[in-house]
């Protein structure tokens, strides 16, 4: 440690670390030459709890990991257990699941955009984003009674039938949403200061991204065209046409563009889905007591923040033997050190924001 080096501590209580994240930065003057993330402040032992709950009892716990995008976490878990039980959710349930998950993707990206812009100093996009997110949360509340920790899906399908005006609500939201995205882009995309703060900041090359196991928009912005919705389709994604936005340089600006485009594509998926929701049952025949045959399954879906994977080992009883969750934020956070080296301290906050982490997911 040279004479000019300084180790400073950011967090765990800090307005911009998006949760209880502690970052130790090694500085040389103003430049960051090394960093270390200290996590675990929000560890609640979710995976251990899973060993003492039945499969249905564990489902609400999954929402509380990535509390910003609870619906997708729930989707991943339900589909993983369905794989273990070797049942498939009926088509109607799959389509409604897709609609709600895509709405959740938009909501998660909106929250990301608002807070990321706020960290960089743009005060206004936060309120605009939350205005749209409010509409989505109203839809969720009408559907399953909860806004944040929704527990929207059940193992085998859905519990609640889609309420009568669901298609109308989603259609109205999607129609309004296009002009709103244009609003956000007007404020930020061509803004000199925004470009100055995000271009070239936190560059992650494609090789590094793959080496770290980074997934989601971070991976796609680095130039790797990999989206589980296209590569290994689940729910009803194989029925819809949508693009996978890919970036070029892997800097913060590219990640911003990728997520903006993803919001647009999600909107398109929703519009396609509500045109043709098949009729039929919403819950497969799974019985009240779930006892999957002994075995293990790993099922991953494309959550808004990346690939969320569920590795479930069943020993034939009503409770799983082991549940391990592969949270996207946790893996993506590993790339933080690589992204932040050489940058100034003021960029650290921008880089934390651009990875889009939720500490509930990182710590479980």
């Amino acid at each position: 440690m040279g004479a000019d080096e300084l180790v400073i501590n950011m967090g765990p209580q800090h307005p911009s670390t998006h949760g209880v994240l502690r970052v130790k930065l090694k500085l040389d003057g103003e430049r960051v030459i090394g960093s270390e993330c200290v996590i675990g402040y929000l560890h609640r032992g979710v995976e251990k709890i899973a060993e003492n709950r039945t499969y249905q009892q564990f489902a609400p716990y999954v929402d509380r990991m990535d509390y910003v995008a609870a619906v997708s976490s729930g989707l991943g878990y339900c589909e993983a257990v369905e794989k273990l039980l070797m049942v498939e959710a009926p088509p109607r349930a799959r389509v409604i699941r897709t609609i709600l998950t895509e709405l959740q993707r938009i909501a998660s990206h909106l929250l990301w955009l608002g807070t990321h812009a706020l960290d960089i100093g743009a005060l206004t996009p936060l309120f605009y984003c939350f205005r749209e997110r409010e509409e989505i949360l109203k839809i969720f509340e009408k559907y399953c009674g909860a806004r944040l920790t929704t527990h929207a899906f059940r193992i085998g399908g859905l519990q609640y039938e889609a309420y009568d005006t669901l298609e109308k609500d989603v259609e109205r939201f999607c129609k309004d949403f296009e002009s709103r995205i244009v609003e956000y882009e007007t404020l930020l995309t061509q803004n000199r200061i925004w470009i100055g703060r995000t271009k070239g900041v936190g560059v992650l090359t494609a090789e590094d991204a793959i080496a770290f196991g980074v997934t989601g928009p971070v991976l796609r912005a680095s130039g790797v065209k990999w989206d589980i919705r296209k590569a290994m389709p689940y729910a009803a994604y194989d029925q819809y046409k949508f693009e996978i936005p890919v970036g070029t340089t892997g800097d913060t600006y590219d990640r911003y563009l990728v997520r903006m485009e993803e919001m647009r594509q999600s909107r398109l998926i929703c519009l396609q889905a509500i045109e043709n929701i098949p009729s039929g049952p919403i819950l497969a025949k799974v019985g009240k007591v779930l006892k999957p045959p002994p075995g293990e399954v790993y099922h991953a879906i494309e959550a808004p923040k990346g690939e969320i994977g569920y590795y479930i080992v069943s020993d034939g009883t009503v409770m799983p033997y082991r549940v391990h969750i592969r949270p996207p934020s946790f893996i993506n956070l590993q790339a933080f050190d690589r992204m932040v080296r050489g940058h100034l301290v003021a960029d650290v906050v921008a880089i934390i924001g651009t990875i889009d982490i939720v500490l509930g997911e990182v710590d479980r």
Partner: protein
Amino acid sequence: MMNAALQATLEFLKLYWAPLLCGVAVVAILPLVVGYIVLVERKIMADMQARLGPMRVGPHGLLQPIADAVKLLIKEDIIPENADKLVFWLAPVLSVGAGLLSLAGLAIGPAFQIAQDINIGILFVVGISALGIFGIVLGGWASNSHYSLMGALRSSAQLVSYETAAGMALVSALLFTGTLNIKSIVEAQSKEGIWFVLLAPVAFFTYLVASIAETNRAPFDLPEAESELVAGYMTEFSGFRWSLYFLAEYTNMIVVASVATTLFLGGWLRPFSGVPWLNFLDFVPPLLLSAIGAYCVLRMPKQPTRVQQLFMLAMAGLCFVVALVLAAPVVLPVIKPSLRAAVAPFYAGIHGGFWFIFKVSLYIYFFMWLRFTIPRYRFDQLMRLGWHFLIPLSIINVLLVGVALIAGAYFHLQGWGLLLVTTPAAVVALVAAFLILAVEKERDARQEQTAASDFYAG
């Protein structure tokens, strides 16, 4: 010696009782005014963010500043452990003192100036407001926290850097006046019949940007933004001390806006003050305020509670009273032409005050608008903007304006005729600005390429 002191005091009071009274009044009223400017800012911020802002305390949140002031005053005064108590006490006082003192040199309308007829008017205002830097640096140091100190040094480095650009911009405008006296500057604009913003637009733009940096407002507010590692030099100050810093910041905003208004926007002159057939514009202020009053009356029945209805009526009444005060000097000479001479000083004072406050408000509104719209600059980008762009631009602009003036004097141009020479000067300055920006972008790109390769060495 006591006798001598007493005699001197009496002599002083006899000469300067009026400015003293004005000074005391300003110092007493300014915190209230600043409090309401903060409320206005919060309401404008809310409006731009699709929400309502403070609504609970008092009708439409109008008692919010009072509530905030009371809270700040009764808060516990925390002093960090090893802080230097004398300097900790002194720092906010320095900031506020510098701000208030520079207010004394400003002329709000031709009738209201605390320090009358200073020969060095503008220089006094700019120089004294620069003393506020010490408030920041000493505050950061007295907090006995490494990060506060860094934030303070950064903030003061920013202030010092943009002072040069601001000063050069002011010089460009002063070239047209030949004097530093504030009243003479406005009179020069009245004489020429054209505001200096039209004669030196690049200087106005430079001063606008530099003044935003001078007052630590967004997008140049990194030293006091919370997403930086610390909240800057103000971190350890709470309660009344913090409110002093806050007061200093908004006072600086008012000072800077007033300087810009005086030098560039025609001070207290009505738009087209020299053109007689546009004198009907004199009726605009009273009509404007009557319209606002009428709007308040119209909205009154729609208010949910009785208190808010009464409050709307009170607002309407206030607007009508002010409109009456504004209308009197304009309407009376129309009714009774003989009164024109008697009413003239009232007209100049009241309408001058209105137009001055109007322009200052526009300038401050622009500050607020910028704050809520664009993100903030990183510190190195900020410094680069100041040193690499604004200072060269302002120096080049001074040269060009000087050349334009010489050409104007050679051709005996006056008033609007000066536009013939200053517009080419402004165009050349703009071209120079774009050239500088292009050079900067190229240098940026080159630096990015060389620097990118060592990032992955670790």
